[in-house]
Symmetry: C2
Subunit: 337 residues, 2 copies
């Protein structure tokens, strides 16, 4: 057993959008596993926008991650040593390992997963993981789109959006994907959106109106204030909005706000979404989405980086909207093959 492992630490607290230089790969000590602990090898690391607020200390329940500390993060990992009767060597698990090659964790803190046939392990971090569960829960509990309704999905090609848009299409809805720049239009179309709107284009509100002549019945919000305003002012009567992510706020912009008068005019219902509240849906979610992936009706859309050294750049790309799907980093040699 090694007594050090490679890890990514915070080099400096990001000021605004994170940069690759805010992160640094170092060697950190690793203790031997004691009773009821396991050592896991990080195979594929998940990068997620909520990390940005953890780094800045804006997260509600957690202290900020200070310079010198290992960046927190979730991964698909393989148990390489076990001092637990519950979790055998060789098991594939989901765990909060942080950005590192090896991690020692309580056996109770890792979740063995059974990856469905025909689906890569990393799907457990995207469509079969928290982003997919976010989309699934927003779909079945908040948006509930019906046939013929118009559904707008913010960050249409991201980890959440790509699943949400597909579920809405399968429900018979007309789907409009919002993307951050013109390079993502074709990608969004390939995912099956009926219409794609580039929210950074000067006439994007007109484009949204043209794409939704009957206004917007369902809106999955991930994005900035301007996107929220544009869609909220164009809601149909009886509209449902799920607030899934506020990217601007993670980057230190002023708080995102919704105009109350527009919500009243539309008799809209707005739901604040925190995915952890919907863990009871996880089994349904995995069944449903794994079947879609296995039959290729849902594309596994990943931006896959290789090696811990790439994690900082991958995170910067994610937070500036340059990703084209779920961002993951293949850390172990086994996962880079």
């Amino acid at each position: 057993m090694n007594d050090v492992t490679r890890a990514v630490v915070v080099a400096r607290t990001p000021d605004g959008p994170p940069a690759p230089e805010d992160f640094e790969v170092v060697e950190v000590p690793i203790a031997a596993a004691v009773e009821d602990q396991v050592v896991v090898r990080v195979d594929v690391l998940s990068l997620d926008p909520y990390l940005r607020s953890l780094l800045g200390g804006a997260h509600l329940d957690d202290p900020p991650v200070a310079p010198g500390q290992v960046v927190p993060g979730r991964s698909v990992a393989t148990v390489v040593e076990s001092r637990s009767t519950e979790v055998p060597v060789g098991a594939t698990v989901l765990a909060e390992t942080g950005w590192r090659e090896l991690a020692v964790l309580p056996a109770a803190a890792v979740s063995p997963v059974s990856v469905p046939d025909g689906v890569p392990d990393s799907a457990m971090l995207g469509p079969l993981g928290m982003p997919g569960l976010t989309a699934y829960a927003a779909h079945v509990r908040h948006l509930t789109p019906g046939a013929g309704e118009t559904v707008v999905v913010g960050s249409a090609t991201g980890g959440v959006g790509s699943v949400a848009g597909h579920l809405a299409s399968l429900a018979g809805a007309r789907t409009i994907g919002i993307v951050g720049n013109a390079t993502k239009v074709e990608l969004a179309r390939s995912l099956g959106y009926d219409e794609v709107v580039v929210r950074t284009a000067p006439d994007w509100v007109e484009a949204l109106h043209a794409a939704s002549p009957d206004r917007v019945d369902c809106y999955l919000h991930m994005g900035d204030q301007a996107t929220l305003d544009g869609v909220v002012e164009h809601l149909a009567v009886g509209a449902r909005v799920s607030l899934c992510g506020l990217i601007d706020q993670s980057n230190g912009a002023p708080p995102t706000r919704l105009r109350a008068g527009a919500l009243m005019a539309a008799r809209a219902t707005v739901h604040g979404m925190v995915v952890h509240d919907h863990a009871d849906l996880a089994a349904d979610h995995v069944d449903r989405v794994a079947a879609l992936l296995a039959t290729r009706r849902l594309t596994l859309l990943e931006d896959r980086y290789s090696g811990l050294e790439s994690a900082g750049a991958a995170f910067a790309a994610l937070m500036s909207g340059r990703n084209r799907g779920k961002v993951v980093v293949a850390v172990s040699k086994e996962s880079q093959s």
Copy 2:
């Protein structure tokens, strides 16, 4: 049949909060009723905050009421002449008469009402009318307070709030009434609120926190931006908010907005309320609330003015928050007795 009637017209479009001088009593011509029309005598006129936006042209579906036009409004009225087989002379009706003594209307546009025993006619404009239905619908469809939950009611002593607070108490909730100034505290206590907070006091947020140590589960919003902010930042997980009225916006203040991050942190659900969507609840509402009024468990709280001349001052008092319950104007001699 008279060929003129007295009416209140807009003298000038209000700029900010309305003043008595914005209104003027004049004689206006009145036509003879033709086939399928009725002539009604206005007994009690209802004054409601939504009129403010009608006068300013901010209402979505209607053109503004221009100077010289009769002020629109709903009343309890008595049919004094009928050319309809559907509505007999002597019937008590609800109708959009405007602020006038006599009105000629299509018989199909008046709604005969049967006022429950032991309840004055004007209750049809307050707890048994639109304000009461607003409170009832928000209670059963949006807020759904449970025993032990904390319910905050904005404009606690108004036409909507006084009913909403009572329904929440009957559901076993702890109720906190928000009032606009210290003179209304005792009134609110007499209505049964467990706690009363004066939103114009400098330490009102601290008072709200002290009154709701477990945060706020349900919030009926009627009020201004500061009130909305104070309550929304103090929501409990799983909170429900019903947006029933935005007084500041009626007076020309900047649009009221809700902070999305606070809604996400609380996993809150926000509902835009427009009472007309809940007409299907009217029968249940009248049954329930009439029983409460008849048995004196719910107080009929009215600011009752006499004569059309008083309507402008009554409306100005309502829009500046100086009312102490539902504001009505007794117009006919019969209703002033």
